[in-house]
C-alpha cells in the first residue's frame, strides 16, 4: 500500500513541479537579461487560462488531432513517472527500463509530428519536418548514451543504474563524462531550448516545436504545454538520478529518508534549471542545419563512450 502511495506520490509530484520548473527557468532567464520577468507561478496561471478557454479547431482537423494531446500527455507523463526522482525501486519502476522510457518519449513525438501534419498548413509541416530531422539524430544519440550507462552498470533499469552510480566502485570514468555531456546536448535539443530551438518565439526561422503545435488552442494547448514542461523535468530528473544520484532513497527506506530525497530532488531541479537558464542566455541560436552538427557531436560522444567501455572491458 505504501508502495502504491509512493508511486502515486511521484506521479503527482512531477505533474505539480513541472510548470514550476518552466517558470523558474523563464524567471532566471529574464533576470539574467536584466528584465524582471513574470512570476515563477505564471505557467500555472497560463495553464489555468488555457483550460478555461474555448477551443478554436481548424475546419480541416481530423479526430486524430483531438486525440493526440491526450496521447502525448499520457506518454510523457508515464515516462516521467518511471524516472526515479526522489526514490528508487518504486512499485512499477521495473515495468519499463531506460530504453522504454526513451521510446515512450519517441511515441509522444511521433504523434506530435502527425498533429503538425494534420491540419494541412505549411507552418505545421515545417515544424514536423524539422522535428523529425532533429529526432533522427537525437534518438540514436540517446540510445548510445543509454548503452554507455547500461554497459557500465550492467543494467538498463534506472534504479539499478542509479544504485551503481551511488556505489563507491564507480570512481571517475571517462565514459560517464562523455555520456553526461552528450545527454546534456540531447536534453537541450529534445526540449527545444536555445541554441537548437527557441521556446519563446513564433518566428519562422526558429520554429520547430512551436510551429508544430501552432494550430492547437484551449485545453489541447494546455495539455501540450504541460507535456513540454514534463519533458524538461524528465531530462533534468534523468541527469540528476544517473549522474548526481545523491539523496535517492529506496522505496523501503524510512519516511525521513524519503523527505530527504524530495529535498535533494528539489535542489537538483533548482540547480539544473538555473544552469539551463545561464547556458541559454550565453549562447546564440544556431541555424537549423547546424543542428545536425551539434547532435552529430552528441552521437559521436555517445559512441565514443560505448567504444571506450568495450575496449576497457577487454583489458
Amino acid at each position: 500500500m505504501l508502495d502504491l502511495a509512493l508511486q502515486g506520490g511521484q506521479m503527482l509530484l512531477v505533474l505539480l513541479l513541472a510548470p514550476l520548473l518552466t517558470g523558474l527557468v523563464r524567471k532566471a532567464k529574464a533576470r539574467l537579461l536584466g528584465r524582471r520577468g513574470p512570476s515563477v507561478l505564471q505557467p500555472y496561471r497560463d495553464l489555468l487560462k488555457l483550460f478555461c478557454k474555448e477551443i478554436v479547431l481548424a475546419d480541416t482537423a481530423s479526430w486524430l488531432f483531438r486525440v493526440i494531446p491526450y496521447l502525448v500527455f499520457a506518454a510523457t507523463w508515464v515516462a516521467t513517472a518511471l524516472v526515479p526522482t526522489f526514490g528508487t525501486r518504486l512499485l512499477f519502476s521495473w515495468s519499463a527500463d531506460l530504453i522504454a522510457v526513451i521510446a515512450l518519449l519517441g511515441s509522444a513525438r511521433f504523434f506530435l509530428v502527425l498533429a503538425g501534419m494534420d491540419v494541412g498548413t505549411s507552418f505545421g509541416g515545417i515544424g514536423s519536418s524539422r522535428e523529425a530531422m532533429i529526432a533522427t539524430l537525437a534518438e540514436p544519440a540517446t540510445i548510445m548514451i543509454v548503452f554507455t550507462l547500461a554497459l557500465m552498470a550492467g543494467s538498463t533499469q534506472l534504479s539499478e543504474v542509479a544504485g551503481f552510480m551511488l556505489s563507491p566502485n564507480v570512481g571517475v570514468r571517462v565514459s560517464a563524462g562523455l555520456a553526461l555531456v552528450a545527454l546534456m546536448m540531447v536534453a537541450i535539443a529534445e526540449n527545444g531550448r536555445i541554441p537548437v530551438d527557441n521556446p519563446a518565439t513564433h518566428l519562422e526561422l526558429t520554429m520547430v516545436h512551436e510551429a508544430m503545435v501552432l494550430e492547437y488552442s484551449g485545453r489541447h494547448l494546455a495539455l501540450i504545454e504541460l507535456s513540454a514542461s514534463l519533458k524538461l523535468l524528465l531530462y533534468l530528473s534523468l541527469i540528476g538520478c544517473v549522474f548526481f544520484p545523491w539523496g535517492l532513497a529506496p522505496a523501503t527506506a524510512p519516511a525521513f529518508d524519503q523527505l530527504q530525497g524530495i529535498a535533494a530532488y528539489v535542489l537538483k531541479l533548482l540547480a539544473g534549471g538555473l544552469l539551463l537558464a545561464l547556458f541559454e542566455t550565453t549562447v546564440a541560436k544556431m541555424r537549423v542545419f547546424r543542428v545536425s552538427d551539434f547532435l552529430g557531436a552528441a552521437l559521436m560522444l555517445g559512441l565514443l563512450g560505448t567504444l571506450l567501455l568495450f575496449v576497457s572491458r577487454s583489458l
Partner: protein
Amino acid sequence: MSVVPVTIALGCVAAFLVVAVLAVVAGRTRVATPLIYAACLVVALAAFTNAFAALVTGAAPSAAASPLGLPWIGARFRIDPLAAFFLAVVDFGAAAASLYAIGYGRHEDEPQRVLPFYPAFLAAMNLVVLADDAFTFLWSWELMSLASWALVMAHHREEDNARAGTIYLLMASFGTLALLLAFGLMAGPDGGYAFADIRAEGPSPFLAGLVIGLALVGAGSKAGLVPLHVWLPLAHPAAPSHVSALMSGVMTKVAVYGFVRITFDLLGPPDIWWSIPVLAIGGGTAVAGVLYALMQTDLKRALAYSTIENIGLVFVGLGLALAFDANGLRAAGALALTAALFHVLNHMLFKSLLFLGAGAVLVATGERMMEHLGGLIRRMPVTSAAFLVGSAAISALPPLNGFASEWLLLQAILLSPQLPQWGSKLLLAGVATLLALSAALAAACFARIYGVVFLGRPRTSAAETAHEVDRASLAAMILLALLCLGAGILPGLVIDGLAPVVASLTGAQMPTQAGIAWLSIVPVSESRSSYNGLLVFLFILSSASLAALLVRWLASGATRRAPAWDCGFPDPSPATQYTASSFAQPIRRVFGSYVFRAREHVEMRPPGDVGPARMKVTMHDGAWDLLYDPLVNAVAFAARKLDKLQFLTIRLYLSLVFFAVLFLLLVLALWP
C-alpha cells in the same frame, strides 16, 4: 496410423495446387475470384493451424518421403520446430492476404493473370519450408520465384513493370545459382543431398566459409540485403497489393528461413568470423533501407524499401546469435536468435498490414504517389486507423510489437562485451549505432508516410472523393492491427512460443517468461532489464483517460470550428501543404548528401523573366553506380567482343572445337 503434421502440411500444399489448377480453368468467370481466394483462405488457415499446433504442442519432428523427384533420392519433407514456426508465419500471412483479396481481387482487370499463380505461390512457399533435401528445396525455391515473377508481371502493360520483372528474374536466377553452389559444396563429392546427410557431413572450415558467403548472396538477394536489394523495390510494388504484402511480409521470411536453415542447422557449430559479414551487411542494410524509404514518393515503393530495413534488423540478430554461439555463450545466443525470429513474426504482421492498407488506398483513389493523396483519414476512417497502428508498430513505438523485438535486440547487443574478440566488439558498437539510427529514421519515415497520405488536406480530387473499401479487406487489416497490439503487450507469450525453435538451433533457450509476475519479459535477469508491454499500455490508457475525464469535468468544453490559423495567412490551395518531398528535405540534406550524393540545384530566372524558378534534386544510387552499371557495361562489352565468333568460317570453327577438346583432355590428364 496417426496423421502426422507433415502429412497435413503436404495435403495443404496439394490443395493449393488443386486450387491453382481450378483457377486456370475458371479464372475468367466473374464469380471465380472470391471463391478462389476463399479456398486459399481455408487452406491457409488449415496449414497455419497445423503448423501452429506442431509448434505449440512441441510435437516431435515428423518426416515424410515421396518417390517424386531426383532418381534414388526422391523428395523428403520434414517439420521440425524451425520449419513449424516459419510455416506458421507463411500461412498466417497467406490467410490474411487471402481474406483481404476476397474483396480486393474484384478490382483486378485481368484476374486470370493473378488467380492461377497466387495459390501456386503459396504452395511453393510452403514447400520451401517443408523441404528436407537440397533438390526439393531448390526446386520449390525456383517455383516460388517463378510464381511470384508471374504475379509481378500481372500488370505487365504498366510503365516500368516489365523492367521490374526482368531485373527480378535475373536476380532470382542469380540467387538460386548461389544457393545451388552452396548446397553442392555442402553435399560434398558423394552427393548426399538429403539434409540429414549434409548435417552428418560437417564441411571443412574453408568450405563452410564459402557456403556462408554463397548463402548470404543466395538467400540475401531474395531477402533484400544491400547491395543485392535492387530488384525488391521495383518488383514488390509492381504486383497487386495483396501479393505485395505476401512478397514483402512473407517471401522475405522464407529467404530468412533459408539462411537460418543453412547456417544454424546444416553447417554445424559456427565460427566467429561468420558473424562479421552478417552483422556488417545487416547493419548497413538497416540504415540504407530506411534512408531509401525516406526519399521515395511512391507509397508502395517506400514500404518495399522499409522491408529492406527490417530484413537488416533480422540479420543483425542472426549475426549476433552466430557470434555468441561461436563463443559458447548459449544464453546470449538464444536471446539474439529469439529477437531475430520475433522480428520476423512482427514484420510479417505489420508489413502485410501496411501493404494491404496501401492497396486499400490504391483501390479508393487509384493513386500510389503520395504527392497526390492526403486527408484520407476523413474518407477512410477504418483503413487509416489500421494503418496508424501499423505505422506506429513498425516505428518501434511502445507498447506495440515492433518495440518489443527491437528492445530484445538491443538487450542482446548489450551482452556483447562478453565476446572475447576485439574486432567483434568494436563492430558491434558500430552496429548498435546503426540500429539506433535506423529505428529513429523509421519513425520519421512512417510519420512522413502517414502524415502525407492520411492527414492534411486532399491534394487531388481522387483523394477528395475516396471511399472506404469493402468489409473483407477491412477485416484483414483490423485482424493484423489487433495482432500487432497483442504481440506488443504480451511479448512473453511469443518468446515462450519461440523457445522450442531457439532450443533446437542453439541448444539453449531464453528463461521461460510465462510465470513472471504481471506478464513482464525478463531476458536475462530482473536486475538487468525488464519490460512490461501490458503495464505500459495500461498506464498510457489510464492516464490518457484520466486526463480526458478531468478535462471534461473541470475544463471548458467549448469548441468552435474555424478556418486554420496558420499564423494569420492561411492559403486555401492544398498545394501549400508540406509534401512527402518537402518533409524529407531536411533529412535528405543531413544524410542524403553523403549516402546518395543528393544535390539541390535552383534555377533562378534572369531579372525581368516572369517564369517560375525551379529546383531540381539529383540523387545517385550507390548500388547501381558502383556495382550494377559497371557489371551491365562489362557484360555488354564482352558480348560485343564475342560477337565475332558468330561469323567465322567452318575451318576456324573446326579448329576451335579441336583445340577445345585438346584442352579438356589435357585438363583430365593433368588433374591429380
